[in-house]
């Protein structure tokens, strides 16, 4: 789809009081625009701060940073927060739909799981892959049915940074479609494997993936 088509699609969805006046969008004036491109839902950015004190609990460390509902707001946030490579070890970025908390215990997550991929080695550009993942999630192109994705998590770890796509259910059929798209977004070759872990198995010591792709 071309830029013009996106704008047309936008103009159809946004009502403008004065039909004769053309609203300024980011496409016509990328610095001074009046209207923004809406997203399907509101998304919230969360950040897990690494523990620097033993007294800090998980609930102290996980905090919502901000929410966004338009493409322009999303870009504004991305331009103002540290890129993944700037984050300290044991940090997590979470972007979750509406008010879903990035926790297994949340009602929306309880019956679901996560597609997980660990990026080993230093060659890959984590910033680029994280941005591509976010764009695929908020643009809703990673899930054709708009029914499965709850959020996405990036974990900065010493042994290899982890990407996880959190889903509402463990239904194999839609999960396989999403997993295939996720592989494309992460630019994985045949050697790269995605693993699906149901949240129900997350309490175990050595959780085994229920699907490998």
């Amino acid at each position: 789809m071309s830029v013009e088509e996106v704008t047309k699609k936008f103009e159809e969805t946004v009502s403008v009081d004065d039909a004769t006046a053309t609203p300024k969008t980011v496409l016509s004036d990328s610095a001074h625009f009046d209207v923004k491109h809406p997203l399907n839902t509101k998304w919230t950015l969360w950040y897990t701060k690494p523990a620097v004190d033993k007294s800090e609990s998980w609930s102290d460390l996980l905090r919502p940073v901000t929410s966004f509902q338009t493409v322009e707001e999303f870009w504004a946030i991305i331009q103002n927060i540290p890129e993944p490579h700037e984050l300290p070890l044991k940090s997590d970025y979470h972007v979750f739909r509406n008010d879903v908390r990035p926790e297994w215990e949340d009602e929306a997550n309880a019956k679901g799981g996560k597609w997980s991929f660990q990026l080993r080695g230093k060659g890959a550009d984590i910033d680029e892959l994280w941005l591509r993942t976010l764009l695929a999630v908020i643009g809703e192109t990673i899930d054709e049915d708009d029914s499965q994705i709850n959020g996405v998590v990036l974990s900065i770890r010493k042994g290899g940074n982890k990407f996880a796509l959190w889903t509402k259910s463990e239904d194999k059929e839609p999960l396989l479609r999403i997993g295939g798209k996720f592989k494309q977004v992460l630019k994985l070759t045949d050697d790269g494997h995605l693993e699906f872990f149901p949240h129900s198995s997350a309490n175990g010591r050595h959780p085994q993936p229920s699907i490998t792709l």
């Binding site: 789809m1 996106v6 625009f33 399907n40 620097v52 504004a76 103002n80 984050l87 940090s91 192109t141």
Partner: protein
Amino acid sequence: MKYTIDELFQLKPSVALEVNFDAVEFRAIIEKVKQLQQLKEEEFGTHHAGHFSRRRSSHHHGRPKVKHNKPKVTTDSDGWCTFEAKKKGSGDEDEEEGETTPTANVPAVTIAQETLKVKPNNKNISSNRPADARDIVADKPILGFNAFAALESEDEDDEA
């Protein structure tokens, strides 16, 4: 509504827009955590330096330290220094003795029908250069031109 990755890139504003949270404070928190982590790492390194330094790195610290005992030298009231040799019975001394055994003294060892000549490794036997400089003069063949001798011989030739 769906947007592809490319479409979303095209919708990226050219300037950084304002956000509805304190981005400066957020960055400051992250920076502080990074500094604390670095401090902790340094502290850990200092505390555990003794423990970790027990094992020698093969590529970071160059050659290992080998401790050599200093030779004992005594200086008398006139200022003369005397080197005190090692006491007999030390392992080192035995080794030295073995190394300096001359080839001539090596006995032939007979095993069954075959005779084996034990040849010591004379690589480390001290230099065969004579210690006395006069010996060098005596042994040295005189190849230099002697003017008086030459004159004498010419005379002999003439007479003949």
